[in-house]
């Protein structure tokens, strides 16, 4: 496998094989991504969504490269910045649990879209 | 009952007309009258408010007995229950500025009432209270009193009456770092095009999102042979010998300390503990090496992995400490380490 998906979304874990499932929050998922980046895995997809409403989602999936190389400082900066930004919003907010199922679906579909972008690459 | 709003005022021994440097050690006192700048200040309130009393404290006393001074001041403020608290202006007086800042911050945090002071932009007290207080920008000496008081009084009136505060430029205060959302006359795209035209013509333009400026320190060259290197230990985690002999502050440190550790294997309890007021001290007090790992460094020294551990260990408290003070501490400590022939430093923070 070229990529690993780090996700706390059960729908993603069901559908794909190359998933590292985080049984926890989005923050824990992002922290796992951060740890992998420091170990030398590059980010394939950006850790954050493109809108605030989806930032409030209780589910998040991020793609990182399976291969472990030297630490990529730009990627470390991106994941650290993303965690800061995530916490800035969510530390003062309640997670929107009422729409969990919709968030799961949208996270899955956005992930699929990102994976499509990655198709046909070596 | 008067319908005027009530102001409580703070000044140091000098502006409290007690005396100069020789009286800087006097303990805090409270007088139910207007003293020094409080008189001129009240006259600028246009009878809308009154100064109900003046707190006076010696600058040295405050800085050396911060907790006692603050607790005295807070007791008075709680008892007198002013609508608004005013301190200074401190101009560029460092200890006075720090006292005004610490008190303003404490009053804002604990009492939730508006606080106003005045300072020169480089006053070391500024960073401590710029978010909590409205700090009127003053000149660097008491010659600026006549200009400072009207601005301080004007913003005090607005705050007391709950009126909207204008921009820092309009009101004369030092920006608190707040990003205020406003509706303005020109839409964003027009502002962008105007900014573009200025940039293209080489005219001055003002970005709407100033990027923070960081001091980038160029890293020193790598140590070639660790086994011959002298390594020093330095922390902002507030680890001090029992009793805190140099009275290093638990927050907003004004000083640093150095302690001979040449005869020790570790910074063990109860000989050492932390005076840091910004984190849960339980684990640090159990084993102070958790914050400043002298034990491991000494092991490395024995193994020959490093050449030597510096005889002195350096320490201060990081929490709330102003950037200006931190820069000063760093420069002073760096100079000593260089003179002592230290090759590398382990710096720990909390």
């Amino acid at each position: 496998m070229r990529n690993i998906i780090i996700s706390n979304n059960p729908l993603v874990a069901e559908k794909y094989e190359n998933v590292f499932f985080v049984d926890g929050s989005v923050e824990e998922t992002l922290v796992k991504v951060r740890d992998l980046v420091y170990e030398g895995h590059e980010l394939v997809s950006h850790p954050l969504a493109a809108s605030l409403r989806v930032l409030f989602s209780p589910y998040r999936s991020v793609i990182v490269a399976n291969q472990c190389e030297q630490l990529n400082f730009d990627h470390a900066e991106i994941i650290e910045g993303s965690i800061c930004k995530y916490k800035k919003h969510m530390d003062v907010r309640k997670a929107d649990e009422a729409n969990s199922d919709d968030y799961k679906t949208v996270d899955l579909l956005l992930l699929q879209s990102a994976l499509n972008d990655e198709k046909g690459k070596w | 009952m008067s319908d005027k709003f009530k102001v409580l005022y703070y000044v140091n021994q000098f502006f409290g007309q007690i005396g100069g440097e020789d009286k800087a050690g006097i303990e805090p006192e409270f007088r139910k009258e207007k003293v020094g700048p409080a008189i001129g200040f009240e006259s600028k309130l246009k009878s809308e408010g009154e100064v109900i009393g003046t707190l006076i404290c010696g600058d040295n006393y405050f800085n050396e007995h911060k907790e006692e001074s603050l607790s005295f001041v807070m007791d008075v403020i709680k008892k007198e229950a002013p609508d608004i608290f005013v301190a200074g202006p401190a101009f560029n007086a460092g200890r006075y500025g720090v006292a005004c800042a610490e008190i303003c911050k404490a009053v804002a945090d604990e009492m939730g009432i508006p606080v106003v002071t005045g300072m020169y932009i480089e006053n070391p007290g500024l960073d401590t209270c710029r978010k909590e207080a409205y700090v009127i920008e003053t000149s660097d000496s008491a010659g600026g009193m006549r200009k400072a008081l009207p601005s301080m009084a004007k913003i005090t009136c607005k705050l007391a009456k709950g009126l909207e505060i204008g921009s820092p430029e309009e009101e004369g205060f030092i920006a608190r770092g707040m990003r205020k959302s406003l509706i303005v006359e020109k839409r964003g795209s027009l502002r962008a095009v105007e900014m573009l035209l200025k940039r293209l013509k080489g005219e001055e333009f003002e970005t709407e999102m100033p990027m923070p400026v960081f001091n980038i320190v160029e890293p020193a060259a790598a140590i070639k042979d660790l086994s011959k290197a002298t390594i020093a230990l330095c922390t902002s985690g507030g680890i001090v010998p029992a009793g805190n002999p140099d009275h290093i502050q638990s927050a907003s440190a004004q000083k640093w300390g150095k302690y001979d550790v040449s005869g020790r294997d570790a910074l063990n309890a109860p000989d050492f503990y932390t005076t840091h007021g910004g984190y849960d001290p339980v684990y640090a007090n159990e084993i102070p090496d958790r914050v400043a790992p002298l034990d491991i460094l000494k092991e490395f020294e024995k193994e020959g992995y490093i050449g030597k551990v510096n005889n002195y260990f350096y320490t201060t408290t990081g929490t709330g400490t102003s950037v200006a003070n931190a820069v000063k501490f760093g420069t002073e400590i760096g100079k000593e380490l260089k003179e002592a022939g230290v090759d590398g430093v382990i710096l720990t923070s909390t």
Binding site: S45, S51, K94, V106, L110, D117 | K180, M195, M211
Partner: protein
């Protein structure tokens, strides 16, 4: 390319039995419009309503806003590539029902929130409290997947705007605006000494609820493309974004892109406005690198001296914005960026995560977390339950009398990063 926009000023909307404009009053044939939209058999029912400036009306959740128009000369009517056959946009004469808007309502997922308040505090923060809004609330039949659902609502909104736009066909406009820019060679010959300026418009293109279309092409699949500014002003670009309420570019905002309009105003005077680069925002880092490289390459190829860059959305697109900025500045091309920021509820936290030393000229369109307090509406158009989505953000946000606090990020167009609205942040 020369485009004339004939503006017919609309001063009210009424529902009736014919579609027409008389003395500035737009009458919409309600049953005719519903019948037209229900030609799509996947639509179960349609509710039409009107919201006027000042009325105590709340519209939620808003999907898109579209300006009703009709093409009377050159090109094809409608939205070429979507509701009409492929055709060139940006030429001839287009008549606009200026001051009217079609607002589509209908939730594809439960967490949509975009709100338009027509009165009071909420109205200050959205540009669409100033338009006469014809709301189109669409319900689809059961068993429709989210992608198809989004598409049905998106296209229904466009078709409604097209249907209503017909009312302006034979009306003499109150004002005619002319937009004309020739080839880059012609313009450069005319204005040899004026700085050459491009507009790089970033678009959310990331999948479901996060898409933009150009001539009907999903922009996720394109490399950055150069458009003549007239094309976008003439309905070539369409929004498929259902989230990012505060900073998405609705179709209306594409049709009236304020950056294009304000750059146009300086064309031939202070600048030589050479066109728009449409830059997709990808979720993958590879996509972000590719697009930023390609955008800068196009700017260099066209010899641009400066680029205005506008963002769409918040979060991962902030990376694209800074990449484009850094690479442009490195290539000697001056940038002005337009973006919103997050400074926390109280404005006291710094937007540290999104900084670059190269970003020296930035327009801030406001703090997405700025909290506003709004009173209960007399009438809610759309789905009243959606109010819970935006009101339930944190403890104490909802008062007993129905007054609630929400962040600007839930308000349509509040912090528009094409600078469509008048919000900003200042250091206090």
């Amino acid at each position: 390319m020369k485009l004339e926009i004939g503006r017919i000023f609309i001063k009210d909307i009424q529902l009736g039995s014919e579609t027409s404009v008389k003395s500035g009053v737009l009458t919409v044939d309600e049953s005719g419009l519903i019948a037209k939209l229900k030609e799509d058999e996947r639509i179960k029912d349609v509710k039409i309503d009107v919201a006027r400036p000042g009325e105590k009306v709340r519209i939620i959740p808003v999907k898109d806003v579209i300006e009703p128009r009709v093409k009377i000369e050159g090109g094809l009517n409608g939205f070429p590539g979507v509701t009409a056959k492929p055709a060139q946009c940006g030429e001839g004469r287009t008549q606009v029902l200026y001051g009217a808007a079609v607002v589509t309502v209908g939730d594809i997922v439960g967490f949509q929130e975009g709100v338009i308040d027509m009165w009071g505090e909420g109205a200050k923060w959205t540009p669409f409290s100033q338009t006469y809004n014809l709301t189109v609330d669409i319900n689809v039949i059961d068993g429709i997947d989210p992608h198809t659902h989004e598409e049905i609502v998106r296209i229904a909104g466009l078709r409604a705007a097209e249907f209503i736009g017909q009312a302006g066909k034979d009306v003499t406009p109150d004002e005619v605006l002319t937009f004309e820019i020739g080839s880059v060679f012609e313009e450069t010959a005319k204005y040899p000494n004026l700085p050459k300026v491009l507009y790089a418009e970033m678009m959310i293109t990331q999948g479901l609820l996060h898409d933009t279309y150009i001539y009907g092409v999903n922009a996720q699949t394109i490399l950055p493309a150069v458009l003549h500014p007239n094309e976008e002003l003439d309905s070539a670009v369409i929004s498929g974004n259902c989230v990012a309420a505060c900073d998405k570019i609705t179709t209306y905002q594409h049709q009236n892109n304020s950056v294009i309009l304000d750059l146009y105003a300086e064309h031939g005077k202070e600048i030589n406005f050479m066109g728009c680069i449409m830059a997709p925002e990808h979720t993958t880092l590879a996509g972000k690198f590719r697009v930023s490289d390609y955008t800068v390459k196009l700017a260099k190829l066209l010899g641009a001296d400066a680029v205005v860059v506008s963002e769409e959305g918040y979060g991962n697109p902030d990376s694209d914005l800074l990449m484009i900025c850094k690479k442009c500045e490195k290539a000697g091309i001056k940038t002005v960026l337009i973006t919103d920021e997050c400074a926390g509820r109280d404005g006291m936290s710094q937007p540290l995560a999104d900084t670059a030393v190269e970003a020296v000229a930035v327009v801030s369109t406001g703090n997405v977390s700025h909290v506003i307090t709004v009173e209960p509406a007399e009438k809610v158009i759309g789905k009243a339950e959606s109010i819970a989505v935006l009101a339930g953000g944190w403890d104490g946000a909802l008062a007993e009398d129905g007054t609630f606090q929400c962040e600007l990020n839930a308000v349509i167009g509040s912090t528009s990063e094409i600078g469509f609205h008048n919000v900003t942040c200042r250091l206090y």
